[in-house]
């Protein structure tokens, strides 16, 4: 797995997309896969930015390719535990007046990812996502 650290701010997103693209290209993975991978990593990263009060200034993002699946891992040290797999589901059938942005990000992640795992140990939150992608 390759890893890179990014400052805990949404201003890191451009650098994160570039990192994802570089990784996908180096493994000959189709450019089209980048859309879903970008979305998954953005939603999980920005959640850590928003809710990781007390966390260290950088978040680590790891990527691994074992055909046909891409594994994405985000690690946050010092932030309070939060298991995205246990977040309440969004009811997409509610009328627009009752809809809001909260929870939509994790809803999209669950729609797009094949597997979402969470572990908390020694002050470290680790989210691991697996997704099948075409080459």
């Amino acid at each position: 797995m390759v890893e890179r650290r990014f400052p805990r701010t949404s201003a890191s997103l451009e650098a994160i997309y570039a990192y994802v693209r570089e990784f996908l290209a180096s493994h000959g993975i189709q450019e089209e896969a980048a859309f879903d991978v970008d979305l998954i990593v953005e939603e999980l990263f920005t959640n850590m930015v928003k809710y990781g009060v007390g966390g260290q200034p950088e978040i680590t993002i790891g990527l691994e390719w074992k055909a046909p699946s891409l594994t994405l891992r985000l690690e946050d040290f010092g932030a309070p535990p939060f298991d995205p797999a246990q977040a309440p589901a969004v009811d997409v059938n509610r009328p627009i007046e009752e809809r809001r942005a909260g929870g939509l990000g994790l809803h999209l992640v669950r729609r797009m990812a094949d597997r979402l795992e969470y572990a908390y140990e020694d002050g470290r939150s680790r989210i691991t996502v697996t997704k099948r992608v075409g080459t």
């Binding site: 939603e43 930015v49 059938n93 809809r99 939509l104 729609r111």
Partner: protein, 93 residues
């Protein structure tokens, strides 16, 4: 990166509407007092941050008796609206 072009008859979005850009779109939409036609032909990407801005804009405009209409969505962006169940709730033409 996202470019927002406010034209007489529409607002064009070009690029990526993510958490880093959502506030810019929010400000552009709040500056409009009438109905809004949002041309998404060059919008390559949207995440929940962008969807949230559009949900709030829809509610605000509807309360004032105006419509928010989205047009020319590329398939991958439209899919995100579908996953969120918003393709049936927002006006997309």
């Amino acid at each position: 990166m996202l470019e927002i072009r406010t034209l007489p008859d529409r607002i064009q979005l070009a690029g990526r509407l993510d958490a880093a850009e959502a506030d810019h779109v929010d400000r552009a939409l709040k500056a409009v007092t009438g109905p809004v036609l949002l041309d998404c032909a060059e919008l390559d990407y949207i995440s929940s941050a962008g969807l949230g801005v559009l949900i709030e804009a829809h509610k605000r405009l509807a309360a004032a008796g105006h419509a928010l209409t989205l047009t020319n969505l590329v398939p991958r962006v439209r899919n995100v609206f579908g996953y969120a169940g918003l393709d049936r709730l927002l006006k997309i033409v």
